[in-house]
Symmetry: C2
Subunit: 352 residues, 2 copies
DNA sequence: CTTTAGCACTCCTCGCTCCCGAGTGCTAAA
DNA sequence: TTTAGCACTCGGGAGCGAGGAGTGCTAAAG
């Protein structure tokens, strides 16, 4: 059954009041905020209906109404107005986007930090959709007889390097040969395959050289695997302490601990869209059952997406959070597309 | 005036009780834990003295006593017994030390995380004492006409690299020349000097090449400056929520926010020693005035030190925290000295 | 001079009751 | 269908008193 327009308006008022005050909303308060002038008694009748339909809840008889998850859902889907960001807000976000990006992981964690700062809720950030990173190119640079630098460029054009000490010692010629070997046989393949090939070579290669080879492969594996693929950065957890629903230290602790420890269980966003809102029990995670999560994604390029998620009470200011987050995510996407030196990126018309 | 042995023993009992219970300690409880059998009345007399001398405080008449910062200080300096770590504890720490260290910054932040986990208090981690890092060696690897990889090895043997897109385009020969130039003139000097030299060259170098040069230098500067020198990692902040003194959400929030935002104001450890304890008002930071901080340092090599600090209530279990932290820091120092492939490191006798 | 028992006193904590007021649900009239 | 009126509900806070842990003091004993 469809809700009457007036019911919707009432629902909206209740939700928006509750979002800003965290206190049950009474019929009188609603009456004064409605466009049409009706008495509080009328409102009460409507409220009773809305409760029965499951859009509102009553903490106890003789208290005002608070929204139920179902109510929030309706609000988010239909009632919520596209919140236009103020000039000030956009400027703030643009300023945040000016950050220098030195390394991809740095950007991801920074994005999380900024998201948290932007909305004053805890946030998490991660990259997703790296379907098996591979190495695109190896370089080995001789430093001294007992050590060399391994430079690994992954197929998404990130470059990592590290000094490796060879126990056996290698000279520049050997390194060059090794590099050629690596580039010939170890590029474009994933970790397990690398290890397999390494095994194959174990007999056919002189011992000392093989040692060095395997050290290099080990490093390469750590790069493509450990990168920041599964790393989840959590920030701004302290923000929840300001919220009345988390005045209780135990509750706050529970959520915080969950967010920092249980990082791989955080909701990931939908495929296709670039923003999702999960309200209360819509979250599969037990610990997030009475919080809401807003997740936005941005393109990093090379079919990878970055994720920024915001965790807050169900009484979250969805309009603002969604607006800011999506603007921010769009900005990040643009940033990666345009000025990113890491990636070729789609050329956009740009006048600098 | 010196304290009598009995006063010291009483003080010790009070502190240790208070540390474990967070509740004022009464004369009767003390009497039952003292080695010499004395009555509670005697204890009361002693307690009155201790209060007068400033070692103890009384929340209100007719409550037990709690230690004052001065009391804790005496305890830490004289009374506290060197806490021997149990086998289990050392094993746990040793296990933590097995971590792979891929990158220095990774290790530092990880050290902080582990420290927090080890003592169940919030912890922060940073590196200190990098007196102007310099570049030891440059390598430039040609990727394609419009981009190349810059590899920078700092004088403490860390290696960083990144793909740089050159707007003008450079071929391999040019890169080789550029690398030679860089290695000849831009190694061993600090950031400001690099920029000065760059200025000098601005006229004498062909435009396109100069562009590439300055991009590279810019990157080098970001490495030696931004590295992890001033970066402070904070973790485990959620731990404070378990403590009764931070049941109050406002208090907890204050400390947490301070720790994450105000990172550069965190106490740094003393020169010379490798561990310091700062109790309550001994902290210069307003926000840390009723918390205590235990800071330990470990050698990273190349006259750099890593710092791990633990922040907790003044009622912190100093003995345990100090023991674990120093054991952990020692372990880190050893780790860096021994198996660290990043650094030559002091040769220790080692039979592997 | 130190230690101890005794005792009155202090003051926090907890549970209880009671009151207030916001807000409801219902009824009856418009 | 809307509205005014009114009795009712229920949470929250104030006020009160009992209980108890712990003190400070005094006076006697070692």
């Amino acid at each position: 059954m469809e809700l009457t327009p007036r019911k919707k308006e009432i629902l909206k008022v209740v939700i928006e009041n509750y979002i800003s005050t965290a206190e049950p909303v009474g019929s009188k308060a609603i009456a004064s905020q409605l466009t049409s002038k009706v008495s509080s008694a009328t409102i009460r009748n409507e409220l009773a209906d809305l409760v029965e339909m499951g859009y509102l809840e009553q903490p106890h008889t003789s208290a005002g109404r608070i929204p139920s998850p179902k109510g929030y859902r309706l609000y988010v889907n239909e009632l919520m107005e596209q919140r236009a960001l103020s000039l000030q807000e956009t400027e703030e976000i643009n300023r945040a986007l000016q950050m220098k990006m030195q390394e991809l992981d740095g950007v991801i964690s920074k994005a999380g930090q900024m998201a948290a700062a932007l909305v004053n809720y805890p946030a998490y950030a991660m990259a997703s959709g790296t379907p098996g990173l591979t190495v695109q190119r190896f370089d080995l640079l001789s430093v001294d007889p007992s050590s060399f630098i391994a430079v690994v460029m992954t197929q998404d054009s990130r470059v990592k390097s590290r000094l490796i000490r060879s126990e056996t010692g290698v000279d520049a010629d050997q390194l060059a040969a090794l590099a050629a070997l690596l580039n010939a046989h170890f590029t474009g393949i994933d970790e397990t395959e690398m290890n397999r090939k390494l095994m194959d070579l174990s007999g056919k290669t002189p011992g000392p050289l093989f040692m060095t080879l395997s050290q290099t492969i080990e490093y390469a594996c750590s790069v493509i695997e450990g990168g920041e693929k599964n790393k989840v950065y959590t920030t701004g957890a302290n923000n929840i302490l300001k919220l009345p629903e988390f005045r209780d230290a135990d509750k706050a602790h529970e959520l915080m601990s969950f967010m920092v420890d249980n990082t791989e269980n955080l909701p990931v966003p939908p495929a296709g869209t670039n923003m999702e809102i999960l309200i209360g029990p819509e979250n599969v995670n037990e610990a997030l059952r009475d919080t809401s999560v807003v997740v936005a994604s941005y393109d990093i390029g090379d079919n990878m997406r970055g994720l920024i998620g915001v965790v807050g009470p169900t009484r979250m200011d969805y309009a603002t959070v969604a607006a800011r987050l999506s603007y921010f995510a769009e900005g990040l996407t643009k940033m990666f597309g345009k000025q990113d030196p890491l990636l070729p990126g789609p050329k956009e018309e740009q006048k600098t």
